[in-house]
């Protein structure tokens, strides 16, 4: 959006009113001081702090003792707000204006004065639903950009913390901030992310995911190759480790890069509770990952191809449970996996208590009724429940486990353990081939580097952490 202002105030008012014709929140307030100073104040109703406009803009303008003032004099001597500036670039002026700032034009000067009067209401900070902790900080990012940056600044009280702004989205003109610790983050990494952002030309950016899907490596992979968090303590920890963070205006989700598989098994709690408890929890998460992927596949392999592996009594019980049900085990498992995903989706979309109740009703009552009606066999329900529940232990890998669970089950149904083993080896190969911003995805797990081992499979106690940086290469001066 670009407009050429002239020295005529009437003409400038007409131009702006034409530009925002049909927008009833657009407000124009003309003022004339007793000395004869004519000005026009423009703002959007609902986005500004009305008190600040009344007391710090309108009142000084009405009381000005001069008949004519330049924009510079207006910004410096009349307006009583800390952040006011003359903005000759109309694009930048519009970006601020559309975001809650007030524009003042005066007779005889074509340059507008932009005053920071942002005053829209926002959500207060709260603990993110998806990243709750038993112990530790409970603050979460909000949709308010500057507030999010302040949360980071509060935690990293270091002059080397850099915030580099850019704007993305031809229509939304969203502010994006690249944060990193200078001297800790690899400069090549910062450059890589900056280059990727510079290459983007999206129409709109309403959430950080709009950017994440565009700049991440291996876009088709079900594994996350870009980190995301709603917690400032996590984002700060990642910055300390030499990563970079992307804060997007309007989104409570902050992106971090690079992202490695190890992160998916970490939880915020790991660093706030005792090392033994954290170690056990992390081991359980590894087990949960293996179980959620392989349990349906193992069941199908045993039932369809390797019945000799099952103890006789168990085989009899499985056969008895299967007898009289209309579907073969493969269809049962696939159907139930889909139903589980549906229940999960419905539970997530349904508000609060109703969602929880519905999940319980769906899971227990439907499952029980379906088994009693001999529509499906009980072992299939148990298998899918185990796979589903263990999958919930790894929220960051949910999309990967959901997709791969189906693929492994199909491979095992076709070829038994051979199919499963080949499938698992291909998943591992995929992980070996993944990169995130030139960092191997299995960093710290496979290409083990001696100095970065304190937090790989398990976390070392804090007193043994030699450096709180797992990615950083440069020495901290």
């Amino acid at each position: 959006m670009s407009i050429e202002f002239t020295n005529s105030l009437d003409q400038n008012i007409a131009v702006l009113q034409a530009q925002f014709a049909g927008d009833n929140t657009f407000v124009t307030r003309e003022t004339r001081s007793p000395a004869g100073l004519r000005c026009a104040v423009f703002f959007f109703d609902g986005m500004v702090n009305a008190l600040a406009i009344n007391q710090s803009i309108i009142r000084p303008l009405m009381g000005a003792a001069y008949a004519k003032l330049s924009a510079d004099a207006l910004a410096q001597s009349v307006i009583e707000i800390n952040d006011s500036r003359v903005e000759p670039d109309s694009e930048r002026m519009f970006a601020s204006f559309l975001y809650g700032d007030t524009v003042i034009l005066t007779e005889g000067d074509s340059r507008p004065v932009v005053v920071n009067t942002k005053g829209f209401s926002t959500r207060s900070t709260s603990e993110p639903e998806g990243e709750k902790v038993l112990r530790g900080p409970r603050e979460g990012f909000t949709e308010l950009f500057m507030s999010n940056l302040s949360m980071l600044r509060r935690r990293l009280n270091d002059p080397r913390l850099k915030f580099t702004f850019s704007r993305l989205g031809t229509r939304t003109n969203t502010v994006v901030c690249l944060c990193y610790l200078d001297g800790v983050a690899d400069q090549a990494l910062v450059q890589t992310v900056q280059n990727r952002l510079a290459r983007l030309n999206p129409d709109s950016v309403l959430d950080s995911n709009y950017i994440a899907e565009r700049i991440r490596d291996n876009r088709r992979s079900p594994f996350p190759t870009l980190g995301a968090t709603e917690r400032p303590d996590v984002a700060a920890a990642r910055l300390l480790e030499g990563r970079v963070a992307l804060v997007v205006d309007g989104s409570p989700v902050v992106l971090t890069a690079p992202c490695i598989l190890q992160e998916c098994f970490q939880s915020n709690d790991d660093y706030y509770i005792s090392v033994e408890q954290a170690g056990l929890s992390r081991l359980l998460r590894y087990a949960a990952f293996l179980l959620t992927l392989t349990v349906p596949a193992l069941y199908l392999a045993c039932v369809l191809h390797h019945q000799e592996l099952l103890p006789t009594r168990l085989l009899l019980a499985l056969s008895a449970a299967q007898r009289g049900t209309p579907l073969p085990p493969v269809s049962e498992i696939f159907l139930l996996l889909i139903v589980f995903e549906l229940l999960k989706e419905a539970g997530t979309r349904t508000p609060g208590v109703i969602g929880q109740t519905m999940s319980i009703v769906g899971g227990l009552v439907l499952g029980q009724a379906a088994v009693q009606a001999r529509f499906i066999s009980a072992p299939a329900v148990i298998i899918v429940a185990v796979a589903g529940v263990t999958g919930l232990a790894l929220p960051k890998l949910q999309s990967a486990t959901t997709v791969l669970r189906f693929a492994l089950a199909a491979a095992a149904a076709a070829l038994g353990l051979y199919g499963m083993v080949f499938g698992l080896s291909l998943i591992l190969l995929h992980l070996c081939a993944l990169d995130s911003c030139q960092t191997p995805y299995l960093l710290n797990l496979l290409p083990r580097v001696r100095t970065h081992n304190e937090d790989s499979y398990l976390r070392a106690p804090w007193f043994r952490m030699r450096r709180n940086r797992f990615l950083a290469r440069k020495e901290d001066p």
């Binding site: 070829l415 051979y418 080896s425």
Partner: protein
């Protein structure tokens, strides 16, 4: 981060490559000893072989790769037919997996091999360990020299196929260690089969011996797990051959650095 091929990755890939023979080893009273001697001999012969003139080495490796692919497919196909697995479908999946393994590049294959070898080695050792109470030492007899020497030479010749991954790695030291690891495991499996089955004849003695691995009454007849692990080793072998043929390498792959 630079893509290094760590020496432990090379050890793992070469060990997996050697373990591919695990399902098909014959059984006699001295085969485990022949395997050990053959492994040691092949490990000693590997470095001088890698110093052969490049064109000769490339030609030999290309021929070796082609022979190994056909050999692996044939023997695994026959095994699957014997065992009752849909052989055509399994072979197709095996080739697809091997192709995808090679498609990602040699560095990825080497990296992949470390966790696979760790898991495969652990499973094979576990399957051997749980049968220890059933081992009968009376089957251990001294070998007669002539057949023993012949079998050792044959084993050494077979193990020299590790030249292929060694050539891909551009290094002899780590692959020789991998060969010793893989050969040692094969010897252990052969010894296990001997101490369990004695001199009785079986179509696939290693597979038959693995079927005796049991954990109480819960887990019995785990030979399918054993076979699946070794089929994956066979798949690795084919993937190494594909990798070599794809890059037609030697010159290209050799510069990989070992930190």
């Amino acid at each position: 981060m630079d893509k290094h091929i760590f020496s432990r990755w090379q050890i793992s890939l070469c060990a997996l490559f050697v373990l591919a023979d695990g399902l098909f080893l014959p059984l006699d009273s001295a085969s485990w000893l022949s395997l050990l001697c053959g492994t040691a001999a092949a490990a000693m012969l590997l470095p001088p072989l890698l110093r052969l003139p490049r064109p000769l080495l490339n030609a030999a490796c290309t021929l070796l790769a082609l022979i190994l692919i056909l050999h692996s497919i044939r023997r695994l196909f026959l095994f699957w037919q014997y065992e009752g697995t849909p052989a055509a479908l399994a072979t197709a999946l095996l080739l697809l997996t091997a192709w995808l393994l090679s498609w990602r590049g040699a560095d990825c294959l080497f990296m992949w091999s470390l966790p696979v070898m760790t898991a495969a080695g652990a499973l094979l050792l576990l399957s051997a360990a749980v049968t220890v109470p059933d081992w009968s030492l009376r089957y251990l007899v001294l070998p007669s020299p002539a057949p023993f020497l012949r079998d050792s030479a044959r084993a050494a010749l077979g193990f020299l196929s590790v030249l292929l991954p060694a050539h891909l790695a551009g290094n002899a030291k780590a692959p020789a260690k991998g060969l010793l690891l893989g050969g040692g495991l094969l010897a252990l499996l052969s010894l296990r089969a001997l101490l369990l089955l004695g001199g009785a004849s079986y179509a696939y003695p290693m597979y038959a011996a693995a079927s005796l691995a049991a954990v109480g009454d819960l887990l019995k007849r785990c030979e399918i797990v054993f076979a699946a692990v070794l089929a994956l080793c066979e798949c690795t072998r084919i993937a190494v051959c594909f990798s070599f043929l794809r890059s037609r390498t030697a010159f290209k792959a050799a510069p990989a650095k070992v930190p």
